[in-house]
């Protein structure tokens, strides 16, 4: 009686890599015609650096979004983390480890608060994290009137500027973090439960999943990633910067990257691989337009269009699958 079923592929992420390949191909063509070089060493390095920063945040963001939540406070967490790290190091390699530890601890703590607000206080994630963001903003605005602290030289040389061929260490770090996240989602109970909570909290609860615990953990991991991103930026900037996170638009950009990667905002569906693809896509667009010296505002328009178009295409393919 049970008719044979045709299962649609569960990877929506394949789409983003297609988009990425296309973008790079077209970009390369245009840039070359324009007399530039898209894949020159410096350009590639810059591209990967930009990707590393956003990527670290976006991977964390992926986790909360898969859990049906959202984190709009990451930008401030990033800034705070740079400051905590740089101020604790204060240019001294000896303080490297404690500083990193402290920065990450602070970040995780913020994640904990986010998580508790979303679960225990039952505040919608959007508001909860915007609220926490405001709290942090106030602290940063009030406490810092500019860059502060000094990153340990070792970190600057290492994470900040060290490369393996054209690939910055920071990008390798991103890959490592992404791999870890992927593993957590696919191979641990936490991952399975997180996807369930994102898919349908009630079902998860009735199936004996501890929804709150799972979501709080996800939020802590998200902030942790933001913290790591902060440390990377501190290593890049040589000091703590109170507004680097917000200037970088890490909150919205990370979400955009996640969705570009084929993760459903509603939760319960998606993956980290796609997110990395989404980040690379955004970074490549940047790089290409840089080469072409396109006006930043025009670039913004194109970005908007590309984001919408890309997601529209996924939606289309998804529908076709459903109908097939």
């Amino acid at each position: 009686m049970s008719g044979v079923l045709t299962l649609p592929a569960r990877r929506a992420s394949s789409g983003v890599f297609l988009a990425l390949a296309l973008t790079l191909a077209i970009g390369w063509l245009v840039v070359t015609v324009d007399g530039g070089q898209l894949f020159s060493l410096p350009t590639t390095v810059s591209l990967l650096h930009v990707a590393a920063g956003l990527g670290l945040v976006a991977v964390g963001q992926t986790l909360v979004i898969i859990g049906g939540s959202l984190d709009l406070s990451v930008a401030y967490v990033v800034s705070l983390s740079t400051l905590v790290a740089a101020e604790t190091m204060n240019g001294d390699d000896g303080a490297l480890v404690p500083a990193i530890g402290l920065a990450l601890a602070v970040s995780v703590a913020i994640g904990l608060v986010n998580g508790l607000l979303v679960t225990k206080a039952r505040i919608n994630a959007f508001i909860a994290t915007v609220g926490v963001g405001l709290l942090l903003k106030g602290y940063l605005d009030n406490g810092y009137d500019g860059p502060a602290g000094k990153t340990a030289p070792a970190l600057v040389q290492g994470l900040g500027y060290q490369r393996v061929g054209p690939v910055p260490v920071s990008f390798l770090l991103l890959l490592a973090v992404a791999a870890a996240a992927w593993f957590a989602l696919a191979r641990t109970r936490f991952g399975h439960h997180l996807i369930a909570v994102g898919g349908d909290p009630e079902v998860a609860r009735l199936s004996g999943v501890r929804n709150h615990r799972v979501l709080v953990t996800a939020h802590m991991l998200c902030s942790l990633c933001a913290g790591v991103a902060g440390i990377y930026l501190a290593s890049r900037l040589g000091s703590g910067a109170p507004r680097v996170g917000t200037e970088g638009l890490y909150d919205l950009e990370s979400i955009a990257a996640v969705v570009l990667g084929g993760t459903a905002l509603a939760g319960g569906r998606g993956g980290v691989a796609g997110t990395v693809g989404g980040v690379l896509l955004l970074a490549s667009i940047d790089a290409i337009f840089n080469q072409l010296e396109v006006d930043a505002f025009f670039k913004q328009v194109i970005r908007g269009l590309i984001i919408i178009a890309a997601v529209a295409i996924y939606a289309r393919r998804a529908r076709r699958k459903a109908a097939a």
């Binding site: 919608n124 959007f126 609220g131 709290l135 106030g138 009030n142 979400i255 913004q300 328009v301 529908r319």
Partner: protein
């Protein structure tokens, strides 16, 4: 239908306006203590007048949110509208009305595009409107290459800046307030109408709505158009109130969404009232004034704001908890 024995309904239902009214009351009291003359008609009138734009945006946002979507583009839309208005009017009074009409049309069209892309192309509205946000900001900077040009006519600025002076009893009645009252009235009427109720159903369960003959895509699109129109009105009042600048609409989208949620509207749709949303916006504005009057230092403002918002939302979500 048999009403089985007297089963009392829950006091505070999810989506009720009770909590927000309470919160607002508290803030107003605090404000009155610190600054008694704040409640004097003239000052109250001007306060309501200057709060009109964000309240309008909240009302517009309500329709989108209750239908289960987001509109993150309103802030940039306001900015775009103000800048466009300035350049088109170019301090030429005679162009005021045509431009006003044009702005409303512009707002409606942006809403329409948001709606169509979201419903017909199946792009999550968070992304659609985020993209629209980028596009609008980029486009308006591009178009006015980087710095607003021209200027707004007095006739245009009147709407957001001037008032009927020395009205007996009230002192002054800002035009903005009248615009607000009219729009608010319409909004409430709309939520009571078939469309309004249907929209809530769409937000609650699109499948059911579709199978009951509701054109879900149409309902949602209309919601976006309403939001766009609200943004246009807000832009007209805001441009009038404070003139041209690229900052005109900065951050308003978050303001509006926060207000809507404060007002008890559920993100994700299906629950909440437009009056709640507008009260939420008024609460935010009151909070802002409160901090000015209590002299909360510039930098700490956002901390206080964040804390109070979290508190308020937490409280209301607690009160309206079933089970």
């Amino acid at each position: 239908m048999r009403v089985a024995e007297l089963r009392p309904l829950p006091r505070v239902r999810p989506g009720s306006v009770v909590p927000i009214v309470a919160i607002l009351a508290v803030l107003v009291v605090l404000l009155a203590i610190r600054q008694p003359d704040f409640l004097s008609p003239p000052s109250l009138m001007s306060f309501l007048g200057r709060s009109a734009p964000i309240i309008l945006l909240a009302a517009g946002q309500y329709f989108v949110v209750v239908s289960g979507e987001f509109d993150l583009s309103v802030g940039s839309l306001v900015t775009a509208q103000v800048v466009v208005a300035a350049r088109l009017i170019d301090s030429e009074p005679s162009r005021t009305w045509p431009v006003v009409v044009l702005l409303l049309a512009f707002g409606a069209i942006v809403g329409l595009v948001n709606g169509i892309v979201t419903t017909r192309l199946g792009v999550p509205s968070f992304i659609t409107t985020l993209g629209m946000f980028l596009i609008l900001v980029g486009a308006v900077y591009l178009w006015s290459d980087g710095a607003p040009k021209g200027g707004l006519s007095e006739a245009f600025r009147r709407f957001g800046r001037r008032a009927f002076e020395d009205v007996p009893g009230l002192g002054r009645v800002p035009y903005a307030l009248l615009v607000l009252l009219a729009a608010a009235g319409l909004a409430v009427l709309l939520t009571r109408s078939d469309f309004g109720r249907t929209l809530v159903a769409v937000g609650g369960n699109p499948r059911t709505a579709e199978l009951s003959g509701v054109r879900v895509w149409r309902a949602k699109t209309i919601a976006f158009v309403l939001s766009g129109l609200a943004a246009a009105l807000a832009a007209i009042l805001l441009g009038g109130y404070s003139g041209v600048s690229f900052q005109a609409g900065a951050g308003l989208e978050f303001g509006a969404i926060t207000a809507v949620v404060l007002g008890g509207v559920a993100l994700g749709g299906g629950r909440g009232s437009v009056s709640g949303a507008m009260l939420g916006a008024l609460t935010l504005e009151t909070l802002f004034a409160l901090m000015n009057f209590y002299g909360v230092s510039g930098a700490l403002k956002s901390t206080v704001q964040g804390a109070i918002i979290l508190l308020a939302v937490a409280v209301s979500s607690m009160r309206s908890s079933s089970r």
